[in-house]
Amino acid sequence: MSIDRRESVHPIFQIENLSIAYRGVVALAPVSLNLRKNAVTALIGPSGCGKTSFLTALNRLTDMIPECRVSGRIRFDGSDLYDPITNVLDVRRRIGMIFQNPTVFPMSIQRNLELPLEEHGLKDRGEKQKRVQKALEDAALWEEVKDRLKENAQSLSGGQQQRLCVARSLILEPEVILMDEPCSALDPLSTRKIEELIHRLRGDYTVIVVTHNLAQARRVADDVAFFWMREQTGFLVEAGSREQLFAQPRHPETQSYVNGLEG
């Protein structure tokens, strides 16, 4: 299934028959889908339908889970993501990820940001400094932390930590940012800041965001993919532009989910 006519506009991910199993039990039935470059795609669907599994297959974080098997094919920017010669570390630099619960490392705010930079070969102090400031500004955190960069990152509030995580992804200048329910642990104000952030990222970055909040999907997404599950196996029901999926869903499941939960 591919997103509405617009697939011709540079899909950054071309996914063919992607299927995911844990210990031989299929969690996600084969999914075929194109994801548009520099657009915001929201993944919605009930709990356990495989949204997180799908998302983590996109940056090969699934490699970290020994009992997880991924089959099918994902082309990222034209080349096979699961090709043995693919440099996974580089792929993960190009595809950032924000988790549901922000994980900042127990070190200073500045070190949190410099660590991935150094890992990817940037040693110049002045340049690091510049990138740190830019990333924090892009994540709308600079004003709040500019005087306490040396403080432990874990002293930040939950919302600030999540924005630090965003900054830490942005500092690597990725092309794609995957977000797994980035606001579900946050208060409404912090949620709004993250949503504004997603708005600002649109056009320059490809954002793929899992959310349980349909209103949020309506607010931030260009495209929406709707997953459902039957007998413990998740599958993609349909995908399309936000207008199409919310106003004229093709499938009854989509209709009832979209309307039922809106109610």
């Binding site: 993960r92 630099r93 490392f105 127990p106 002293s155 690597l172």
Partner: protein, 295 residues
């Protein structure tokens, strides 16, 4: 059936309180008695010359300088080998080997057995292997390596526990940032596991400083100043043992030495504690944070 209205609960409660308090007091009293005894009888022996002189007349007179040096030498050797080995093993077991894989299980099992082996057996092994087979003879080297074998299981276990305490989200987040396995281990996991690692080192030091049996067969018990790591030398614990058991009239210096040993152990513990607090204030806050966000 519980009957809360009866006096039972009250009596029980008082009984328990009594028991808990007396146990506490008893433990403290035993510690106080031992420490007090050592301090009381040892304090008179300690002065600068006791620390800087060589023993004379089999240790009845003179000081303990060469013995202090041998002790530190053996301890240094023990830690110098045991720390890197235990880190490497724990990292392998916890971060690389497949959980419940054959090799991990084998190593795990061996560690449990090793931890329960009496030190005298380590002494025999150390003598046969380091002193004889590797031709290191009775030397600080043989002694230090034997102690390293003894401290290894303790230190590996503590490091494993330290690594286990690091949330998986750290590993996933590090991976999502494109950090290599090596960077993740050295820059994120080991610093976060430091509390466990330090605990292991302190336990290891304690075990090494307390050891006598294993060292009699390996580092020997000459009181001479060791000139190299291939020389034999006597540790504080062996000195105490020898003075107390084999040297009539050596008692007062045995107590002096015991006091030095106690001060050394306390000093190492306090230093480690301060170091830990300095390095790890942040980790304590970390676990607090996580507990809080769970509730």
């Amino acid at each position: 059936m519980f009957d809360f209205s009866s006096n039972h609960a009250g009596t029980n409660h008082r009984l328990w309180t009594f028991f808990v308090w007396t146990s506490g007091i008893l433990v403290f009293a035993i510690f106080g008695l031992i420490a007090g005894d050592v301090v009381w009888r040892g304090i008179g022996q300690i002065n600068l010359t006791f620390l800087t002189d060589s023993p004379t007349r089999s240790g009845r007179a003179g000081g303990i300088f060469p013995i202090l040096i041998s002790t530190l030498g053996i301890l240094g050797l023990c830690l110098g080998t045991a720390i890197p080995l235990s880190l490497a093993t724990a990292i392998y077991l916890h971060e690389f080997s497949r959980k419940n894989g054959a090799s991990a299980r084998l190593i795990d099992r061996s560690l449990d057995v090793l931890a329960g082996v009496p030190s005298i057996v380590f002494g025999l092994f150390g003598n046969a292997f380091f002193a004889v087979t590797l031709e290191l003879g009775f030397s600080l080297l043989s002694g230090g390596l034997t102690l390293a074998c003894m401290a290894l299981p303790l230190m590996i276990r503590s490091t494993q526990q330290g690594l286990r305490a690091v949330p998986d989200s750290f590993r996933l987040t590090a991976a999502s940032l494109g950090l290599s396995r090596t960077s993740t281990i050295f820059r994120i996991l080991l610093p976060a596991a430091l509390p466990g690692i330090l605990t292991g080192i302190i336990l290891g030091i304690g075990r090494a400083l307390a050891e006598t049996a294993a060292l009699l067969f390996t580092s020997g018990y000459v009181t001479r100043m060791p000139e190299s790591l291939f020389d034999s030398g006597r540790t504080l614990s062996i000195h105490i043992y020898d003075l107390a058991m084999n040297v009539p009239g050596g008692e007062s210096n045995a107590y002096g030495t015991a006091l030095v040993l106690m001060i050394l152990i306390v000093a190492i513990n306090v230093t480690a504690g301060l170091l830990a607090r300095m390095l790890l204030g942040r980790h304590i806050r970390l676990s607090f944070h996580q507990t809080r966000s769970l509730s």
